[in-house]
């Protein structure tokens, strides 16, 4: 039986819950400058390895005829041992006497810069290793540049492999002087440059006896002096909306407070859009009491006093201290994509929960991350840094990075994958905004949604207008630009000269689609209710409106039901022969073969029908690449 004794005390220090809060530290540096060896040694010397781990790795090394190295402790996957490099961001936990740490062993291999970014972005401090013998290399500089972009401010440089340079102070000094100057140009400042020999554990936890000239701290002493990341609770409130929940009668705005704090009774403004309401309650589960305040990092479940339109992506703030709203800004970007970043190309821009299309309007300069030299160009290769003008297709809420880092940075995505990130340096003033003809996308940007034409077809009395009216009401209440074009209304106005012949019906459909096109052109979601019995006429309408999203809704009610309702008394008249060519009685109705929405009124309630139409509108508009929710 594979049992183990758990109760036997070991020397590892026990921690109280208060100092249990982990600090995330990233370990970076040029390939082969000793990061994995350092981390392995750190784990060993702080007594943080599970029992038997060292023995297991030593045994595996013996089996494969390799000399044991501390780096192997981390290299858990076969491929890594084959290539002798760390592939991906490994997270290892260890404890000093002071507190607990999560250490992120970021890779140094050039190909895996994206993993270094992933690791460093979640760290509150960084250890950067430089090989004393090799000195400052390409990745030493590149990693520092990325740390400055990612906002990691606490940095300690470890001058490693001092054993290979006879523990020589002059060699150490030369590296320190050269590299401090480089860091200064990035606005970074290393708290310490510590000379170490990770392989032998010198100045890692234990003080080296071979470098008596070093009077500063060991690595663990330096780590214990790091402060936790800044608390952003003192900043203005930024609550990006993650979702709106309607699981029961409550309508809950869900989101995480990214900066500042929120309380019931606070007045909120949601940007873009600018609608205001007041926080009524927090709906914390399991209750019975909810929090009195939700601070930075807290997930909030908010109900509002007024039923205003809110959607994912908007940022709630206090009206007295709002984010900027705009669609054009200057940014510094780091690019990790296999394909180069291209000027004039459109990407998806993700900022908090906002997700919009954005074009790289201009690449202003491309900076070599290791030499800091700048050049011009229209395409930016992988692992480079550049300054660009970004123009989103619609307004977004943001801050400048130096005002509020968390709302002043974004990721760029293409094909569902993140390829780069950036920080916002300046807003572009209005005078640089486009001039000339107002475009459809500008109208869409102002409305907050693209237009669409929703065409309700079906027999007289099938319920087209009733459903359309309810859909209109829902969209209107959701602050959408919506209008209804009713066939009966047209018949007494624009179509007053038309009868019921096939030719007149075709003309009626043509006129209705022209009217719908005008409304859609102004950015409206246009609901048309017209029998339009002939498939050919409907196809022409669809073709005429090809510039817009077209949703055909077939309101499919059995003739007998329509006739029994006969709200307008038309069926009775038709049966008496008082109306010629009445659809369903004396004129054919060609049912649509592939409508976007098919409502069988004998099987679907009115409410369900409305939901079906709304979700089709929602889906089609989302498919156009815009966040949109009814």
């Amino acid at each position: 039986m594979n049992t183990q004794n758990l109760s036997q005390p070991v020397s590892s220090p026990s921690l109280s819950i208060e100092d249990h809060r982990k600090m995330h530290v990233v370990v970076v540096g040029h390939v082969d400058h000793g990061k994995s060896t350092f981390v392995g040694r750190l784990l060993n010397d702080t007594d943080s390895l599970p029992n038997g781990k060292i023995e297991q790795v030593r045994k595996n090394c013996a089996i494969e005829g390799m000399e044991f190295e501390y780096a192997f402790l981390l290299d858990a996957l076969i491929e890594e041992q084959e290539q002798n490099i760390t592939i991906d961001t490994t997270r290892i936990f260890f404890r000093t006497k002071q507190r607990a740490y999560a250490i992120i062993d970021a890779p140094g291999h050039k190909e895996f810069l994206k993993n270094m970014v992933t690791g460093a972005a979640s760290a509150s401090a960084a250890l950067l290793l430089i090989d004393a013998k090799e000195g400052v290399m390409d990745q030493s500089r590149r990693h520092a540049f990325l740390l400055s972009l990612l906002g990691v401010k606490q940095l300690v440089v470890l001058v490693n492999k001092m054993d290979l340079v006879n523990h020589d102070e002059a060699t150490y000094e030369k590296i320190r002087t050269e590299y401090s100057a480089f860091l200064k140009t990035l606005g970074l400042n290393a708290v310490h440059f510590i000379p170490i020999a990770a392989k032998h554990g010198e100045n890692v936890v234990e003080r080296s006896t071979k470098m008596n000239w070093w009077k500063g701290p060991t690595v663990t002493e330096a780590l214990d002096n790091f402060a936790h990341e800044d608390d952003l609770t003192g900043l203005p409130l930024r609550l990006p909306v993650s979702d709106i929940y309607r699981f029961d009668e409550r309508r809950i705005i869900a989101g995480r407070v990214e900066a500042g704090a929120i309380r019931p009774g606070d007045e909120l403004i949601f940007q873009p859009g600018g609608r205001r309401s007041t926080v009524r309650t927090f709906e914390d589960w399991p209750g019975p009491q909810s929090r009195e305040v939700v601070g930075t990092g807290g997930s909030a479940s908010v109900t509002l006093s007024e039923q205003i339109f809110v959607e994912r992506g908007q940022v709630a703030s206090h009206p007295s201290n709002q984010p900027r709203v705009g669609r054009e800004f200057r940014a510094r970007i780091f690019w990790l994509g296999k394909e180069p970043l291209q000027q004039n190309k459109t990407y998806r821009l993700r900022l908090l929960t906002q997700n919009v299309e954005a074009v790289i309007a201009k690449i202003e300069k491309i900076t070599d991350a290791s030499t800091l030299e700048s050049k011009e160009g229209t395409s930016v290769p992988r692992d480079s840094i550049c300054e660009v003008i970004v123009r989103a297709t619609r307004n977004i809420a943001y801050d400048l990075h130096n005002e509020c880092p968390i709302t002043g940075r974004f990721a760029l995505e293409e094909g569902g994958r993140i390829h780069g990130g950036g920080i916002i340096l300046d807003a572009i003033s209005k005078s640089e905004a486009p001039s000339g003809k107002v475009t459809a996308s500008e109208r869409g940007a102002r409305a907050g949604h693209p237009p669409a034409v929703v065409w309700f077809t079906g027999l007289s009395g099938s319920g087209k207008s009733t459903i359309a009216e309810a859909v209109e009401r829902r969209l209107f209440d959701a602050c959408r630009n919506v209008i209804r074009v009713d066939g009966d209304d047209l018949r007494v106005s624009l179509n007053r000269d038309l009868g019921f012949s096939a030719a007149d019906r075709a003309e009626s459909v043509r006129r209705a689609s022209a009217v719908a096109g005008l409304f859609a052109g102004t950015g409206h979601i246009t609901l048309v209710t017209l029998i339009a019995p002939l498939a050919a006429d409907r196809a022409k309408a669809r073709a005429a409106l090809a510039n817009h999203t077209f949703i055909e809704v077939f309101v499919d009610a059995p003739l007998a039901v329509c006739e029994s309702r006969d709200v307008k008394g038309l069926y009775a008249k038709a049966r008496r022969g008082e109306i010629a060519e009445f659809t369903g009685i004396s004129s054919p109705y060609e049912a649509p073969e592939a409508p976007e929405v098919h409502i069988k009124t004998d099987k679907t309630s009115q409410e369900e029908a409305v939901d079906l139409v709304l979700s089709a509108i929602d889906k089609v508009l989302q498919g156009k690449g815009d966040d949109w929710e009814v």
């Binding site: 758990l6 249990h20 996957l77 994206k114 995480r256 399991p286 990130g421």
Partner: protein, 273 residues
């Protein structure tokens, strides 16, 4: 501990996990949460209820190997009622008919046949594009490389050599064609965090975790290959005190992890959780 305290370690972990749950639900068309009924899984249920204000808005999936401890089946029914769980249960009946079992086959084969195969079949059946898992980075070295949102191919493979970057709270928001995304809200938690949170929130769990006759289970799997550890810890407080001192690994009692040097990696590359 004050419920308003935002800065304590457990609350920070909890709030981050809630954010991960919410982003997953907002981003994906169809979410499912596999449920092992173990402690991590039960913490996930609790966090989901917090994220969605009491209601879990997606189904849970139990892959029943038929080798669960009897107490686990009792616990399943109890927890289902407490949390109002919409539960899907799947068994690989075909493998059982073919006589696949621990008395005749090695643990890696049985785990593959009775867990991974029906798991993949359920994904094919329900077309989920996001699966919430209870994976923690501290469990096993291969898991240390995981992301919050981890895309899997249609074959369920994990391309750990070319993972998408993940920073500033921006996750991989689309599943690969025909594949899905693993959503891992417990990534930053440790075993000790899990138990301290269970104690703080009073989350229901199977009593197999507590010592009987000097032994307790630290990790629960199929009964023929899951072994108890020597431990006098008979309640949550004692378990927590024990974990603060231990240096043995959590999954030491899980036989399928120890068959070959890289058995865990092989299992995971084939789609094991």
């Amino acid at each position: 501990m004050s419920r308003n305290a935002q800065n304590d370690h457990l609350t920070r972990l909890e709030q981050t996990s809630i954010h991960v749950f919410r982003e997953a639900f907002a981003n994906f068309r169809s979410v499912c949460m596999p449920w092992s009924m173990g402690k991590d899984s039960n913490v996930l249920i609790w966090l989901a209820r917090k994220a969605f204000c009491g209601k879990i808005p997606f189904p849970l999936l139990h892959i029943d190997t038929t080798y669960e401890f009897p107490e686990m089946y009792e616990f399943r029914e109890k927890a289902k009622a407490i949390h109002g769980i919409d539960l899907i249960v799947r068994v690989n009946e075909d493998a059982i008919r073919r006589g696949i079992g621990y008395s005749t086959h090695d643990p890696v084969t049985v785990t593959h046949e009775l867990k991974t195969v029906p798991f993949k079949a359920a994904i094919d059946e329900f077309k989920w594009d996001a699966l919430v898992t209870g994976i923690r980075r501290d469990e096993d070295p291969t898991r240390a490389k995981e992301r919050w949102f981890s895309p899997r191919s249609a074959e369920g493979n994990w391309d750990y050599k070319d993972q998408p970057p993940e920073f500033w709270g921006q996750f991989a928001s689309t599943a690969p064609e025909g594949g899905h995304v693993r959503v891992q809200p417990l990534l930053e938690w440790t075993e000790l965090d899990i138990w301290e949170y269970i104690r703080r929130e009073n989350i229901p769990n199977p009593t197999l975790y507590f010592s009987r006759n000097g032994k307790r289970f630290r990790s629960l799997g199929c009964h023929p290959i899951t072994h108890p550890v020597d431990s006098p810890a008979s309640n949550i407080d004692e378990v927590i005190e024990e974990l603060k001192l231990t240096k043995t690994s959590e999954r030491a009692g899980r036989a399928q992890d120890h068959v070959g040097r890289n058995s865990m990696q092989e299992l995971r590359a084939k789609g094991f959780m």
